[in-house]
Amino acid sequence: MSLFLIAALPFLGAVFPALLIRAGRNASSMAAGSVTLLALVGLLINAPAVIRGEVITARLDWLPWLGLNANFFLDGLGLLFAGLILGIGLLIILYARFYLSREDPMGQFYTYLLLFQGAMVGIVLSDNILLLLVFWELTSLSSFLLIGYWKHLPEGRQGARMALAVTGSGGLAMIGGMLILGNIVGSYDLTVILQNKELIQSSPLYLPALILILLGCFTKSAQFPFHFWLPHAMAAPTPVSAYLHSATMVKAGLFLMARMWPVLAGTSEWFYIVATTGLVTMLLGAVIALFKDDLKALLAFSTVSHLGLITMLLGFGTKVAAMAAVFHIVNHATFKAALFMTAGIVDHETHTRDIKKLGGLRHLMPLTFTIATIASLSMAGIPPFNGFLSKEKMLEETVHTVWMGSHYLVPALAVLAALFSAAYSFRYIWHVFMGPVRHSYPAHPHDPGPGLWLAPGFLVTLVVLIGLFPNTMVGPLVETAGNAVIGGGHEHFHAKIWHGFTPALYMSMIATVGGIALLMSQRRLAAVWDAARRPEAKEIFDALIAAVTRASQWFTDALHNGALTRYAAIFVVFTLALAGYAYSTGTMAAPTREMLPVSAMPIVGWICIMGATACVVAFHRNRLLALVLMGIVGLVVSMGFNYLSAPDLALTQISVEVVTIVLLLLALNFMPKETPVESTPARRIRDVVLSVTAGLGVGGLIYALLGRDFSAPSIADYHLENSYSGGGGTNVVNVILVDFRGFDTFGEITVLGIAAVVIYALTEAILSSRVRARLLNRVMDTPQAGDAHPLMMVVATRVMMPIALMVAAYIFFRGHNLPGGGFIAGLIAAIAVIMQYMASGFGWAAERQRIPYHGIIGSGVLVAAVTGMGAWFNGLPFLTSAFGYVHIEPLEEFELATAALFDLGVFLAVVGAVMLALESLARFAWQPGIIPEHPMDINPERDEDGPQTSGQEA
C-alpha cells in the first residue's frame, strides 16, 4: 500500500465513527477499528521489504520553492513506530468500546483518536522536516482534544490546557531548530539531512539548532523539567492515557531524537544535555512514582522515568546504547499500555483509583491480577519478562559511561533509579492486589468481560513471548530499526536472559532486593515525603501563566487606555518618526520636470481652498459653518481635478460632495451644534506642532515627487495603447475600472455595499433600543421651519426627477468613451432620489419606494459577478470582457460591451449603497404623526418667538 494512503487513511477515516455513531456504538468502533486495521495491513505489506533493508519512499512535490514537499519514507525506525501506533491503536479502540460509558460521546472520541493516530503516523513516516512539523503540531492539537475529552471535569480541561501549552511551546522552539537545520544543509528533506553529519556538527549554528530541537523533544516526551504536564494529562479517559501517554505521543520526542541521532548525536554537547536530562528524569520520575497513591499518577511518573531511561540511552551516543533504546521502546510500549489498561479496569470495577482504598483484589479479579502482575514484573525488570532484557542492556551501558570524569556516578544513579522502579512496580502488585480483601470498596469488583481484558491480555502475552524468545519475536524488527537509528554501519541485535555473572546482573539484583526493602518501608517513607516541602509543578505553572497574563494585560492597558485621541496621536508621531527616518537616510535625485505655468484661475481656486481649509479649523466649533466651508473645499478640489485633465474625477468628486454634505447635515440634526472648548492650551500646541509637521511632510513629499519624473517606466502606456483595441472604449479611466482592473472594482462595490449594510444594521440596533423613545420625545434645540416641505422645492424636485435620471442614464451610457460611467451615474441617480426625500419628506418618499435598497445593492453585485462569470463559458478568466459593434437601422452604429453590463452592476450597487446609508440616517428623524408626513403641509403651531418642540408633550 502506498505510504500516502497509510498516512491519509486515519484522517480520511476520522469522519466515519462520528457519522456511524447514529447506528450505535458498535458500528462506530467497528468503523474506527477497520480504518486502523486497513492502515496496519497496508503497513505490514511493506514490512518484509523494510526488514530486508530496503527504504520505501513516496514523493510528491507540494510547495517545492519553500522546500515543503509531501515526501514520505519508510525505514526500520518508521516501521517500528508506525506498527506500534497502529497496532496499539487497534487494541485501544477495542478497549475503549467497553471502557467508555453510555453517556460519553463515543463517535467524537474515535474521531479524535483517529486524527491523533493520523498525525502520529505522519510524524514517523515524514521525509520532510517541514511536513513533520505540521504533523507534530497536529498531535499537540488532537491530544488536547483527547485529554480534555471529559469536558465536564475541570481537571481534564486544565490538564489539556497545560499539555497544549507545554508541548505547543516546545513545538514552536522545534520549528526554529528545524529551520536552522534545513538552512545549514540547504534542504528540508530528512534523507538529505541525515547524510550531512559533518556539515551540521561543524556549523556554528549546531548548538542553537540542537537546543531548540531538543526543547521540542523534551517537552513532548515529558523530560525534566517539563515532565509535570504528563501526570496532569492523566485526567483523560484511561484509553487515552494508555495510548498517548505510554505508547505513542510521549514517544514522539524519543522518535525524533532517534531519527536525528545520526547527525546530532556523538558530540559532547549531545551527551551532556541528553544523557544528563534522561538520567535526572529517570531518577526523579521513579522516586515520585513510589509516593503516588493514584494508580494512574503512579503509572504516569513511571512513564516519565522510563522515558528518561530511553532518552539517556540515546544520549550516550553509542551504537549499542541506541540499539538498547529501540529495544526498550518496544518493551515499554507493551507492558506500560497493558498496565494502564489494568489500571483502567480496576477503576472501572471498583470506582476508585486510590491505592489506599484498594488491596486484596487478587481473589476478586484473578484475571486482572495475572495480567497486572506480569506487566508489573516486566516493568520492575524481573526475568523472564521483556523489561528485564532491556533493563540489563541499559545497566550494562551505564557501566561503560564516564560522566565528567566519574566512572561511578552514572551506574550508581541508574541502579538507584532501577531500585525505585522495582519498588513502585512491586507496590502496584502488593498494595492493589495482595493483602486482605476489604469490605469497603466503593463498588463490587469482579473481572470484566473479554472486551476489556483482551487487549491487555494480548499485550502481556507479547511481554512473556518477547522475554522468552527475544530474537525470534522482535529481533529482526529491532535490528532494522536500530540500524536505521544508527545510520551508517550494521549492528547486530542479540538478547538473552542469562549473560553470566556480569556487573549488570549484580546491579539488577541490588535493584530488586532494594526495591523489596523499600516497599516494606514505603508507608513510613511516605509520611516523611508528604511532610517535606516540595515545589509543586502545577502551582508554579499556574503562577507563571498568571504572571504572563498580568504582564500582557499591563502592556495592553498601557497602550490602550481607552483614549482614542491618544492612539491617533501615537499613530501620527510614529508615522512622522518613520518618515523622518526615511528622509534623513534616503537620497533625492535632482528635479527633472518643468513646472507648469500658473494662470489666474488656479490662483483664485487656491486662495479659496486654502482659506476654506483654514477656516474649517478656525471655526470648527460652529459645526454648521464648518460644513459649509467643507463644501467649498470639495468644490475647489473637483474643479482642480477638471483643470488638471481628470474630468471623471471632477464629476465623481462633485456628486460625492453633494451626498456627503447631505449625510453630515442629517447627522448634525441630532448632534450638538457647537463643539465646546475642552483641551488645554498645552495640548492644542502639541496638536498644532504634530499637524504642522505632518502637513509640511506631506506637502514637501508631493512637491518633491511632482518635480521629478517616474523612476521606473510607467504602466500608463500599456493602458493607453490597449484601451481601445482591447477594451473597446476611449475613456481609459473607465476602461481601467470596468476591464483592466475590474476585479478591484468588483471588490470595491462589494465593500461599499457592506458599508451600507453595516449602517443599516446599526440603525436597526439603535432604533430598537431605548434610544427610540428618546428620539421621539426629543426637544429641538434650534427653531424648526414652519413649512417642512416648501411648495416651490417640492414642485421643482418632482419636475427635476426625470431630468436628473435622464442625465444619469446619459452619463452612464457615454461612460465607456467619454467622462462618465457607472460610479458617477449611480451618484447622480442617488441625488435625484435624495432630492425627493428632502423636498417631500421621508414618509412620502418611503411610501413610493417599493424596491428595498438592500435588493438594489445585492442585484448590483450579482449583475457584476454574473457578467464576470460569463467569461468562463468562453474559457476565459473571470471578468474578461468582450465587445462588438452593432448596426441597427436607423440608428448609428453603436457598441455593445459586456463591460457596460458590469458597469450596470456598479451603478446599481452605488445607488443602493448611497440610498441605504442616507435613508437609514433619515429614519432617525422620522417621527410619524409629528413632523408633517405629507408634502405641502404647513405646521400652524409654529411659534416665531422661541425654539419649537416637536414632542407630544409640547
Binding site: 486654502m610 478640489v637 488638471l644 476611449t730 434610544v771
Partner: protein
C-alpha cells in the same frame, strides 16, 4: 502650478490631522474628510500634473494623455471614502444617542488626558 497643489495638500493634511486629534466626534469626522481630500489629491498627483491632456483617446489626431491609472484608483477611492465617512458618522451618531455624549475618549477621567 505644482507649488499650489503641494501647498494645498499640505494644508489639508495639517488641518485634517489637527481635527482628528480633537476630543469630540464631529471635528474628527471633519478631519477625516479633509484627510481624504488630501490623500485623494496626493494619489492623483502621483501621476504628475498635466493640462489639457485628459485620458480620453482621440481617434483623429495624436495628442498627449496624462496617466490614467491614478485617476482610476482615486475615482474608486472617492466613492469608498464616502462609504467610510457614512459608517463613522453612523457610529458617532449611535454612540452619541446611546451615551448622550459625543466625547471620543473612553477613559473614565477623560479630562485628565485632555
Amino acid at each position: 502650478m505644482e507649488i499650489l497643489v503641494s501647498s494645498a495638500v499640505g494644508l489639508l493634511t495639517a488641518c485634517g490631522v489637527y481635527l482628528i486629534l480633537r476630543l469630540r466626534t464631529f471635528p474628527v469626522i471633519l478631519g477625516l474628510s479633509l484627510l481624504s481630500y488630501a490623500v485623494n489629491v496626493f494619489l492623483f498627483a502621483t501621476g504628475r500634473l498635466a493640462l489639457n491632456a485628459p485620458p480620453i483617446l482621440n481617434k483623429y489626431k495624436e495628442v498627449a494623455y496624462t496617466d490614467p491609472l491614478p485617476q482610476a484608483l482615486v475615482l474608486t477611492a472617492i466613492v469608498i471614502s464616502f462609504g467610510m465617512t457614512a459608517v463613522i458618522v453612523m457610529i458617532a451618531l449611535s454612540s452619541y444617542l446611546t451615551a448622550k455624549d459625543d466625547r471620543i475618549d473612553m477613559t473614565d477621567e477623560a479630562g485628565e488626558d485632555a
